[in-house]
């Protein structure tokens, strides 16, 4: 069967250390949309990067416990991260920064040595309640020794904000995907935005996952199959369990969730990895459609996610 292309115009490029896809329902709006998206990406990179010496986040992490007034961008991203931490009871927690740095993930992943000596063990993660945050005044206090990492939520928060802003300004349906964190806004193509689900965002066809259509909100995938490295012979990955200060051990290798926003979908998919076998119940109780793939490739779905026949 020949696949019909969706009636949209799109652009693909790289930013924030990952692949970016922008799609709009009117080709004439693509240049303006791309310009707006690049501005959003630049602001988030300047504010939230853990790998730029000149970013606000790095300055904050080195503040030694002082109070700082931060930009609206960092305040917005941090506010979202803290709310996600609250609603996941600390499963998705921005205070894992020191743990993930000591595990070896201390630079842009493309420049990370894939092997190295054993890492020091981080016994405790301070937890999101240790962060002082006055949203109205944009004042933040990060206690001495605590480092923030917004990697779990900042891309999704950026995708939501950019998609909404582009759709409002141009009046066209918009899809923004940042490393597989997908936000859609405005009136999309008939039948919704077709999105392929896969283990690896950079090899969508190879993993042979299904294509689903999304009409509104967000879709995100978390996976322990990507951003993996070795230290002392141990295979590590980027989804850190705040309770252990080390990569999560989960029966799920990949979880995709749909939600009202991309931030919510990302929070749900990451929390599901950490919840291990409790994940389907947690997702189902919240009415979150999700697709969970276990380590052997068996698929479990929740809350209206379309059923599929998968060869195991």
């Amino acid at each position: 069967m020949t696949e019909e292309p969706a009636p949209v115009a799109s652009a693909a490029f790289t930013a924030l250390g990952t692949g970016v896809v922008l799609a709009v329902t009117d080709a004439a709006a693509l240049p303006e949309a791309r310009g707006m998206l690049e501005v959003h990406l630049a602001r988030v990179d300047e504010a939230c990067s853990r790998f730029r010496d000149d970013s606000e986040l790095v300055t904050l992490n080195r503040s030694g416990g002082g109070a700082f007034e931060v930009s609206e961008t960092l305040a917005g991203a941090l506010g979202a991260a803290l709310q996600v931490a609250a609603e996941t009871a600390g499963l998705v927690d921005p205070t894992i920064g020191r743990a993930i740095r000591l595990l070896g993930y201390d630079r842009d992943f493309a420049r990370l040595p894939q092997d190295g000596p054993p890492h020091p063990r981080v016994l405790t993660v301070a937890g999101w309640r240790a962060v002082g945050f006055d949203a109205a005044r944009r004042r933040v206090t990060v206690p001495c020794g605590v480092e923030l990492d917004l990697g779990a939520t900042a891309k999704a928060w950026c995708a939501d904000g950019a998609a909404q802003a582009i759709a409002s300004a141009t009046g066209v349906g918009t899809l923004v995907s940042l490393g597989g964190d997908v936000a859609v806004a405005g009136h999309g193509p008939d039948g919704g935005w077709p999105i392929r689900i896969c283990d690896r965002h950079d090899e969508p066809e190879a993993s042979g996952g299904p294509v689903v259509a999304v009409e509104a909100g967000g879709l995100a995938t978390s996976s322990t199959t990507r951003r993996r490295w070795r230290r002392g012979g141990e295979v590590l990955h980027h989804i850190v369990d705040p309770a252990q200060g080390r990569p999560a051990r989960s029966c799920w290798r990949t979880v995709t969730a749909a939600a009202a926003t991309c931030v919510a979908a990302n929070a749900a998919s990451t929390a599901a990895i950490l919840l291990d076998r409790a994940a389907p119940g947690w997702l189902g109780a919240r009415g979150l459609p999700a697709r969970l793939v276990d380590q052997e490739g068996a698929v479990t779905t929740t809350a209206g996610w379309p059923h599929e026949v998968v060869a195991v």
Binding site: T18, A67, F68, S71, D202
Partner: protein, 129 residues
Amino acid sequence: MKHRPRTPASRDAGHARVAHVTLAVAAGGVAGVGLLAGLAASSTHSAANPPATVPAVVPLPSSASPTTGAREVPGTVPATAAPDPAAPVTSPPAATSPAVTDPPVLIQPPTSAPTHEHGRRSVASSGGS
């Protein structure tokens, strides 16, 4: 206690006073909800709209530091015990300060679940990155 028999006129006057007070309380409540909704909308707006320029992180005098543990992330009042992560969350914990409003729950389901697609090429992919 001295108990006086009430006349129809005094009873009507009493009812009118009660109705007036009830109306005033209701109006105050509506105004309060409107104010809180406005604050919430303002907060959401600023979070969703990055500024035109990104100012550098600005250190504040030590006297401006928030009190340890004090935070104004709505609905995130520290608790003595962590909630069960597997338990359903219908709303964040209640705030203790009347000046702090609960934000809408962020982790909400979509308005409609994804559907299977057959015969259309995908526009984007979602996978581990």
